[in-house]
Amino acid sequence: MIRPPRLLAAILLGVTVLSAQAQELSIGLSTPVTTMDPHFHNLTPNNSIAKHIFETLVHQDEQQALKPGLAESWRAVDSTTWEIKLRKNVRWHDGTPFTAEDVLSTLKRIPNVPNSPASFAIYMRPIVDAKAADPHTVILKTREAHPLLPNDLATIHIIPKKAEAMSTPDFNSGKAVIGTGPYKFAEYVSGDRVVLTVNDKYWGPKPAFAKVRFRMITNSAARVAALLAGDVQMIEAVPTADIENLRKDKRVSLASVVSNRIIYLHLDSGREKNSPFVTDAAGKPMEANPLRDARVRKAISKLIDRNAIASRIMEGEAKPAGQFLPETFHGTSRKLTPDKYDPEGAKKLLAEAGYPNGFGLTLHTPNNRYVNDEKISQAVAQFLTRGGIPTKVEAMPSAVFFSRGSKLEFSFLLAGWGAGTGENSSPLRSLVSTFDPKLGNGAANRGRFSDAGVDALVQTALTTIDDTKRGIMLAAATEKAVGELMGVIPVHYEVSTWGVRKGLAYKARVDQYTLAHEVKTSK
């Protein structure tokens, strides 16, 4: 007689063998895909899926360098006019040819998606007019000089003309999901999975897999377990805790890259006095706001051992940062390096600023937004406390954190910034430019840092078409805002890591997209 456990095992195993399928790639995603409408919610997982089905005029490679996409070429005719040449012989999944009309329809639809919680309209706003010069040429006019137009276009997925009037539910049901990309829509189950099949008629290189199944496994340990169990062949966002172990595991290999996301500390440099969470060293309320003093901010920066955080908290999955983006990105500074851990120097600076005995702080941090966000904050607090600035940590879900942070309820906070367009102007404009709703500046400047010199440099750069000149200006602005004035304190760049089963290879991307058509078989 077979004992029950063995019997059970036999049945279970039998079925496992049957379920394995060739030519199928299964990927574990870390965040749920919320829609199939490429214009509804500007969110990394949504965009990532959209990139399989739809295409943008301008592509970005794994380093976010601009590459031709549906547009074969683009150029600024004058400072406000752009001419875009479209690729010919591209067909939609339903067989109709791709033309300039489709591009114009897309541009029309984007600002008018009902109920959109985060639309792509921000990238459209500089455009005042769009015309088709011929079926494969589009002319775009901007209000003023807008050098970043190609970067912006890299975020916009082109839909066919007939989908212009389609609603978001039409996309979610799959009815409207017709693209030009390497994969075709097959199935979408909210909160569970997205299934795609290969587009045999794709103009570009053929993907390695006929069918892709994306599974949403938000719990990171479960995601790793799924990879180890072979239920999925690839996962994104490998948790730092498992890196060391997975590196040793023969069944899997890892792909990682320093991403475009910086983790930084923001300090209240707006309020002159009575910053809400600043106390004296004994914990009593204090009127003066030491954080307004750039020397104090510099001292805090020097108190943080970035290498320790990168190695101990992030297990190597981070690179200490001295500015907003890694040096490989356009508009970054070559001069800025991460501040060295220097408690002595910090002490001197604090004394100089008039705080030889330090003061007390509370560091506010989200606990479910960035990799190890709460732990990094604890580590920062450890260092500050040891360095004579007793620091408490208060962590909260990001839903609460960002609401309160934007209402300026904090004195000292930890946050992150990913430069979606892959360019240094994005953090400069949002994080350290003077808060100004009209210009759209300083939208995420929760420390209300303000420096006229930085503002001027950023504003000029934003209208400078010449890439080289613009790059120099942006680097200068960064050196002033971060290197000199410490408007934010950079901590590290996150490293994004993917795990794949042996036999597969993935080129890690700085924009954190998980693209099935970039997965290669390595045999």
């Binding site: 496992t16 909210s190 479910n368």
Partner: protein
């Protein structure tokens, strides 16, 4: 009985109203959904647009008024995140949770009652003591912890079962159900076991306590004095009396299984509504959270009502007292 049902329905309305108000107000206090929904790159103009698109630019009382108005028309608002009617989003996820809850209850009842019966009938045997010790353990282990251990053992180490996710679904009366296929059951086994463990312990303990109490009563002795076989004394006389209190508990626990599915669904990436609501809470997707609570509360009340009706069907004493 009519009175009873009427009373419960009146209560239900009141509860739904109060729940909606509390949750609506509560989530309003937590934070501003726009902050979490918009792309970080968005400027102030885009934020304002989002707020207007989601109806968040109006005063909160007006928002609530609009919500109530919609509620009476059966519209619980549109999800901020999904842009679809919140009710639709939830109903779409409900079958997954319900099948998990159903399997879990099946496991805990199917195993719990026999084990509890055994432990109650032979309290001094070693096996009974082992069952009781095991049940205390099941009581004491945190669900989430056990969940991962199950994955580690059965999926990663032994490779017998899929680690996470839901198996292939079939369309049954318009709902996608996964547990009618062997493959689907393989996926559902670990999560429902995880969910069932606590309830299993509970039912074992309750059954045992009931057995020990009932077995002392005269009617059992009388049944034996009548010369009935032991199987009938236990299987009919004892069991039916035990089942009556158990039905109440099982009904209440079904509700809590549905609620506790939140934890299990998070671990096993099970696309149910528990997972949805925890995500929605973190994303401040108020319409979904409010709608979820309304749906779940409504379900609980209905389950309780059914349980009470069932109770009176099982227990002739209640039946007659009500009918009089």
């Amino acid at each position: 009985m009519t009175v009873y049902v009427l009373r419960r329905l009146a209560q239900t309305l009141l509860v739904l109203f109060v729940t909606s108000g509390l949750v609506f107000g509560g989530l309003y206090l937590v934070g501003d959904p726009v902050e979490i929904l918009v792309n970080p790159q968005a400027d102030q103009e885009e934020r304002a647009r989002t707020a207007a698109a989601l109806g968040l630019d109006k005063p909160v009382l007006e928002q609530y008024g609009l919500f109530l108005k919609g509620m009476f028309a059966g519209d619980l608002g549109k999800s901020f995140v999904f842009g679809r009617p919140a009710l639709e989003v939830i109903l779409e996820r409900m079958p997954a949770t319900l099948e998990l809850a159903f399997l879990a209850m099946l496991m805990s009842v199917g195993l719990g009652i026999p084990l509890g019966l055994y432990a109650g009938l032979y309290p001094d045997r070693k096996t009974s003591k082992a069952i009781m010790a095991g049940s205390i353990l099941g009581f004491s282990l945190p669900t989430f912890w056990v969940g991962l251990l199950l994955i580690m053992v059965f999926a990663v180490q032994l490779g017998w079962l899929p680690s996470t996710g839901r198996g292939p679904t079939e369309n049954v009366f318009g709902f996608s159900i996964s547990i009618f296929s062997v493959e689907g059951l393989r996926y559902a086994f670990l999560p429902s076991l995880n969910l069932a463990l606590f309830k299993l312990s509970l039912i074992i303990r309750l059954t045992r306590a009931q057995v020990r109490e009932q077995a002392l009563l005269d009617y059992i002795r009388f049944a034996r004095a009548k010369g009935l076989p032991r199987s009938r004394v236990i299987g009919v006389h004892l069991l039916k009396n035990i089942l009556i209190p158990l039905v109440t508990v099982i009904g209440l626990e079904l509700g809590s299984v549905i609620a506790f599915a939140i934890v299990t669904e998070s671990i096993f990436a099970w696309p149910g509504m528990g997972k949805l609501v925890i995500d929605s809470i973190f994303q401040l997707d108020r319409p979904v959270v409010v709608a979820y609570l309304l749906v779940v509360v409504f379900m609980f009340i209905m389950i309780n009502l059914v349980v009470d009706v069932l109770y009176s069907a099982l227990d002739p004493r209640v039946r007659i007292a009500e009918a009089k």
